[in-house]
Each structure stands twice: as C-alpha cells, then as structure tokens.
Symmetry: D3
Subunit: 181 residues, 6 copies
Amino acid sequence: MTSDPSRIALFPGTFDPITNGHLDVVRRAKGLFDELVIAIGTNPAKVDLFSPEERRAMIQQIADAEDLPVTVETYTGLTVDFARKRGAKVILRGLRSASDLAFEFQLALTNRAVADIETVFILSGESHGFTSSSLIKQIAAGGNIDRLSRLLPAQVIDAMKDRMDRIRQIAHTNDAHTQGT
Amino acid sequence: MTSDPSRIALFPGTFDPITNGHLDVVRRAKGLFDELVIAIGTNPAKVDLFSPEERRAMIQQIADAEDLPVTVETYTGLTVDFARKRGAKVILRGLRSASDLAFEFQLALTNRAVADIETVFILSGESHGFTSSSLIKQIAAGGNIDRLSRLLPAQVIDAMKDRMDRIRQIAHTNDAHTQGT
Amino acid sequence: MTSDPSRIALFPGTFDPITNGHLDVVRRAKGLFDELVIAIGTNPAKVDLFSPEERRAMIQQIADAEDLPVTVETYTGLTVDFARKRGAKVILRGLRSASDLAFEFQLALTNRAVADIETVFILSGESHGFTSSSLIKQIAAGGNIDRLSRLLPAQVIDAMKDRMDRIRQIAHTNDAHTQGT
Amino acid sequence: MTSDPSRIALFPGTFDPITNGHLDVVRRAKGLFDELVIAIGTNPAKVDLFSPEERRAMIQQIADAEDLPVTVETYTGLTVDFARKRGAKVILRGLRSASDLAFEFQLALTNRAVADIETVFILSGESHGFTSSSLIKQIAAGGNIDRLSRLLPAQVIDAMKDRMDRIRQIAHTNDAHTQGT
Amino acid sequence: MTSDPSRIALFPGTFDPITNGHLDVVRRAKGLFDELVIAIGTNPAKVDLFSPEERRAMIQQIADAEDLPVTVETYTGLTVDFARKRGAKVILRGLRSASDLAFEFQLALTNRAVADIETVFILSGESHGFTSSSLIKQIAAGGNIDRLSRLLPAQVIDAMKDRMDRIRQIAHTNDAHTQGT
Amino acid sequence: MTSDPSRIALFPGTFDPITNGHLDVVRRAKGLFDELVIAIGTNPAKVDLFSPEERRAMIQQIADAEDLPVTVETYTGLTVDFARKRGAKVILRGLRSASDLAFEFQLALTNRAVADIETVFILSGESHGFTSSSLIKQIAAGGNIDRLSRLLPAQVIDAMKDRMDRIRQIAHTNDAHTQGT
C-alpha cells in the first residue's frame, strides 16, 4: 500500500539516548499520520554514546513494548533528503515550552524553502519534555544514574549503567552552570 | 464514512475577516488530515464586521474557488466542546514567527488538560502570515482598502468596500502605535 | 518577633480563584522566607467571582488543610505600598515557562525603581502551572466544571459549582480561540 | 530645503506622558536622521491625562531645554498616513529588552506591507527604558508621585502633581499585579 | 567630504557567503545613511569557504550589478575598533523575526557600553531572511546546490558549485536536526 | 549553627572573571538567605583565564571590600551534587532581561527533576547585567582593557592587565559579529 506523502511523517533526531520527552511526542502523535518514522540521524564525525544500530534496537524494543505504531530507521546526510527518499512530506518536532524557538523556526522555514517539507509542531508533555540528551549525559557522568528515572525510559537507564566509562569519557563531569556564565 | 478522530482537525478562529495568513495555513495543512473544519467561533457579545453566516459563505466561496478540501462551520461556546461534538481530536493553529507564543502554549496545554485535545502547530508563510484581523480593521478604517491587497483575498477586500461605515464604527481611525506606548 | 524585611515576601494576585499553579508556587517557596503573605489584591471597579473575603477564607482553609505556613491577607491600592506597610522587601512571582516574561520583567523593574522592592521568581510546576484564572472562568462557563479537576483544588471546584450563574454572567460562554485571531 | 524621505523619521506614540525611556530613544537617535518628528497620536475615543496640545507643549519645552533637534507634532488617524503626509519613509521605535517583540514585529511588517514604510529599532537605555506610560499612571494614582523621579522628566512630574484628580479618575488605585493572575 | 559619524554605518558579518537575507537588509537600508560599509570580518583561526578577498569581490560585484550604494571592506579584530577607524558611530543589524534576540541585544548593549556605538535594527524581509550562512553550508554539502536558489544570489550559487570539495570538507554531510536533540 | 537547607543558596558559575553583573545579583540577594555561597565551578578540560584559586581569592577580596556576606568556594562535578554536599536546597541565578531563558528554564527544571533543588531567579540590574564573561574576554583581547570599566570591578581589570598574553591566546582577536552571521 502506498500512502499519501502528506501522511508520512519523520520524527528526526540523534536520540542518543531517547528520552521520555521524545517518547511523549511519539505517543501524542499516535494516529495523526499513516506512518511515523523515528529517523535516527547519524553523524560519523561525532562521538556517540550508543551506536546508530544500538539506538535503533533500543527504540524498537521500547516501541514494541507499548505497541507504538512507528517505524525506526537510521540515516546519514540531510534530513530533507532522507524525507524525500522515504516518501515523506512532513517533519514532526516536539516543541518544549522552553524550546529554542528561533532555532526551530529557522530550521522549519529552511526545510520548506529548499525541499517543500512542512514541519508540524506538537507541544511535548509538561512533566518530562524539557531535558535534552546532552544535559542528560552530563548528569549521568556525575555518577548516580537512577536519579534520571523521571527523564528516561527504564531500558535506557539500564543500558547506560553498562556504559559508564564511555559516558564519563564523552561528557565531562561538570555541568551547564559552569559552561561560561 | 466515519473517520478516526485523530484525523479530523478544527482550525478555529473568528475570521472576521479571513486573511491570506489564515488561507496559507489551510493550504499548507492540505492532505495532513482526513477532514479539516474551518470553525468560525461566534461571540454574541462582540460587535462583528461580518455576521457568522456571511463569514461562512465568504470562506466557502474562497475555498471552492481554489478547490480547498475543507468544511466551513460556525459554532458558539467553547472550542473544545465543539471539537467533541464534531468528533475531532486535533486543533490546528498557525504559528506566526512573531506570534504570541506564550498565549498559544497556554491555550494548547489547557485544551489538553481539560479535554485531551492535541494542538498541532504549523508555521504560516513568511510573506503574509503576520497580520491579525484586528490590525487589518484598523488600517481599513483609515480609508484606502486597496493597500490591504497583499494581506487579504480579493473577495474579502470587495466585501469590506461595501461596509466602510461599519468598519469606521468598530475600529477607531487610529492605530496600534497610539494604543499607549 | 520582628523579621528582617528581606525575609518577608508577598505573593500578590487576585486569586479569583486560586489555582493549582498558584498553590504549587506556594509549596515550592516553603522555607525560603520567614513569612510568606498571600496578598489578595482587590479592585472595586472589577466584577469578581468570589469576594475578597471569600477568597481569603478559601485560601486559608486550603493552607490549613495541608499545613502551609502562610499568612493570607487582602489589600487595596498598589502592591508596593502594601509591601511597605507589611514590612516586606520581596515580591514572589511564579514564572510559567510560557509566561508573559516581558510583562513580568517590566513589572519587576518598575517595582524596583519606585520602591526598592526586589522580585524573586520561581518556576511553577510543569503539570499545572500554565493556566490563568481568566482562562479557567471561560472554561467553567462552558458548563462541565469537573474537567477542571487537574487545574483547581477540590475546594475551589465545589465553591464554583455553587456559583454557576455568576460565572456565566462574567465570562462569556466562548473562549480565547475566538477572541480575534 | 527638501530632505530625502529616507532621512525623515517619525517617532510615534501617545506620550501621555513622555517618559525618560522615550527621551533616551530620542537622544540616541540624534544625528541619525535629517529630521526626527515626535508624532503624538491622538485618539478622540480615549480618555487622556494631558490633551494633545499640552503634550506637544511639554515635549517641545523639554526638547528646547536640552537642545534636542526634533519637531513635535500631533496627528489623528493612521501613523502610516501621517508619515506619507509628512514625507517620511521611516518609523523609529525604541525596543526595550523586555518589549513585546511579537507585537512590534507585527506592526513593522504590516506598515511595510501596506505603505512601504521601514521601521528602524534602537535599544532604549537599560536604566529607564522599561516602563510604559500606563504603568506610570497606575503608580501615580497610588499617591506619591515623587517616587517616579527616576522614570519621568522633572517637568512631567510637576505637571502630574497638578492633575492628581484626573490621574485617580483614569487609573484605578491598584496595579498590574492584580489585573487577573 | 567628511560625513557626520552618525551617518556612517557598518553592516558587519562574515558573509561566507552573503545570502539573500543579507542583501535584503542592505536594500532596505538604502538611503538611511550617508555611507553604508559592508564590513567583512575575518577570523584567521576559522576555516572559511571563500577567502576574505573572494567575499569582498563577490559582494562588490553583486552591489555593482544592482547599483547598491555601498562600500565593501574587510577587517580583522573587534568590530567596534573597525568602526572607530572607519569613523562610523552606527552598526546596522538585520533582525530576523526568528533571530536570537537575546544574543543580539547583549551584543548591542556591550558595543554601546565599551565604545558608544549605537546599533540600529531593521527587520529582514520575510521571504528569505531566515537562513544563516552555516545552515546553507550544511545543505550545500548534501549535494544539490540549486535548491538553494531562493536563499542565495545566483553569483554565490555559481561560485559554490566550483567549490564542492571544500564545502563537504568544512560542513559535515548532515544537518541541524541531528546536532543533538 | 546549622541552617535550614532552604535558607542556604548556591550562586554557581565559572566567574572567569566575575563581572559587575554577577556582583549586582549578589548585592540584590543580600539578606534573602542565611548563607549565600558563590560556587566557582571548575572544568579541568577547559582553558581558563584565572585559576580556580585565583578566582576565589579575587572574589573574596571584592566581597570583603564591600562587606558582602558571602562564602566563596570552588567545586568540581555537578552543581546539584555540590549543593547536596553543602547542604543547600536553592540555586540562585541572575536573569538578564536579554538572557537565554529557554536554557535557564531547562536547567532549572532538570535540577528540580534530578535533585529536588529549586532555582530562584532575580533580575540583574539593568545597567551592567547584560554582558557575559566570554564577550568580555573577546573585547579585552582587542587591547584596550580600560573600556571595560563599566562592566568589570576595578580589581578584575587590574588583574586582566597582567595577563594580556593569556587573554589573547584564549580569545581570538575578533568578535561575536564575525562568528558566522
């Protein structure tokens, strides 16, 4: 069956790792599209915590566990090029009320100008939608991963515990308060 | 045929009158939903320029002229109540990059909390997405309606020309620069 | 015992009615000050839902029920004048991440310039901090008050049920989506 | 001598009364234009504190006292119409860092779309650029006008002292903290 | 002829490359100043796509082609120091409605505090004012440069086609959606 | 004497160097807490201008000179971990009206979610609250340090003069206008 491209949406990100905020967006978008593709962007030049394939498997497992109707795929290169290849006309983004809106708008308007891709925004849930993956890695590097339990799925917390060395290596053990005020 | 409620969306507003910015949102949302209802809210206590029925007819005529697949309806009362009655689970809003985001987010989160209605945001087009209906009425009251031709559909401009007395009556002949700086 | 004025804080508002968002701010501020005064501003020219004394009694009852160490008082006139009279040097405000920050900052800087009163901001809780009292009255006027149960304390919902006529009278039965987009 | 219209700028507002923030913008714009017109918009339907002519005389006196090279004029109707009549192609606005930017941008883009008038923004000075005339009237209504001495020119404070009855009449003796949180 | 320094403005940036958004600002500022200097900042430590001299020549050619009355110059060091050397008292910046305003304001206030340089803001045109040079390089690295035709002058697109190797080298072939959500 | 943890506040940052904006926040917070700890975060991986111990001594000297009742300490690792170790339940942050609020809110909500630490915001003073330490280092690298006299305490300016080589080494002699517009 081929879908109308306006009914296929990409939800792009690095998802390294996926957070409760990301999952909240996926749950709220349930039913909005014929197909929702969680599109894991991979950046060879960037040091990652989990490999693209590990991320894919982890997200697929979480989606299966709660029966979320999504496809999980990895890609390299531009998101708009992957969208065209996948036959999608829509990008889904979760807006946190404390998001960097200027950045999101610039991205959405550029994707429209260069590839006629529309971006559809949905507000992420209030209680866990505010934290970025990089903030999470900073906190994890501090040691006590269990305190991230409100922000991350249990599967991700377990996987992170097995990878403490790498976390400490890629996130310095200090935090955003000391990035240069 | 009954649709999945997640595929029926309301696009609510007063539309007094509809602007190119509103139409731009409708065009961009084309194909995103099974049914898109332009929902004209009516407020008995408020002095309007065009009656609800006039607005409905005007929008229907514009939609027909360019074959926009929308339903146009009027309602009174709460938008979330009309959504439930219409079997819709989604509200569509056009975000202007210069929108009052705090207000939009508050509305969206409240509609979610009281009625489990999700709000989906789409960026309105850059070139005519910035002007509100009330600003337009202020300018029209100044006299020269043709200068609104970049901001309003031709049908609306024609209809406004026939109603200059009423425009002058409901919008004082001065503007937002003198609302109290 | 007299306190250092820097340790007495006012939490001003109309509280007509008090919401879970307001209460969340009060709970989070617990312990921050020697005395926290919930200061109910009264405006003779404005039609209110509950009288100042009714609001005072309702808030006092809620505070007593969960042992919140606050004083509840009503005042007329400028907040900075009431602060001086009460011996307070600090105003407490809850910032919603979707607040009108420009307005809050203007108010805080003005209060500093005219009365040397500092304003201290605290983020209100994500899950119920987003709704204003006026939005709540609009929704209540639509009829089904119980759907406000995530946003209001049970005592307030009960009190509102006894006052449906007045709610309908002061809040038109329609909503912010139709205030003029 | 006739000037290039791009070198004639309007600085529009109600200026009821003019504040130190307004004057700061005028001082900073000194030399930027061939002619700077302080354009006092008048709104017959609005209750004002000082009449348009009183405002004009007060601003002229202040400008003369410190040799500010400005023209002070009153107008009715749309600002863009007055700009055309005055041969000006530019509107000057002071941005407060806590300004309502969404509103300013909407106004600027609308003025461009309907009249090809460009708006030029300048940041108002940090120390007194934050307060609106309406906030000032609220505070004045509280009684002690001298505490506004950081926010208003001395001439304005004197003029306000002679008009306490009117101030109390148009601004209720309470403040923005009690406008409905 | 020597000009009043308040009539000489710098429009600073890296312009690597210049975009339609930049050109739009220059066109709108036409006539506002006696002299407008497009000031190409050069950063020895940063890998650039076009050399400062290539950028200067490219911009000069575009300005000549449409008779834009500008001077195009390169500089190193602080912008405020170059302004003083050039006898300019004004910096011109294009605000995109989705700009990083906090950053722009901080810069403008700092330039005022350390060098008495005023910054004048103008809104860039809606239809192509939103994209940064770095976003453009990311997209170009994806391959199909012609899709940038709404965002870049034709001369720039041609020059970029001759430099695909360098573009791929300095911008990784992936995009902002995968920078770390 | 042991204090209530709600009365001990951390004011975290790198303070490399401390600015008048930081000091303004400290002065305004005077009296608000039983103990205010200026907490100097240290990041072994980051090149600093002054060593943690130099920063501690410089801040202590400034605080002593004007009798500011603060404790000055250095720490490594997460701010929330240092807060717990110090027995503090509150983080104090200065909001500049042009701050990156999205970033501040994200940080505050994360600190609440992972460690039940509340963040209390205070507006920094208008006249010197806008400049970041990194912007200051850029300007200093341009040569003339005395022009920073409105932004930095005299002690810091003196200390920077003795360290011009290092400043030039860590901050390239160009500025934010040429970071990539």
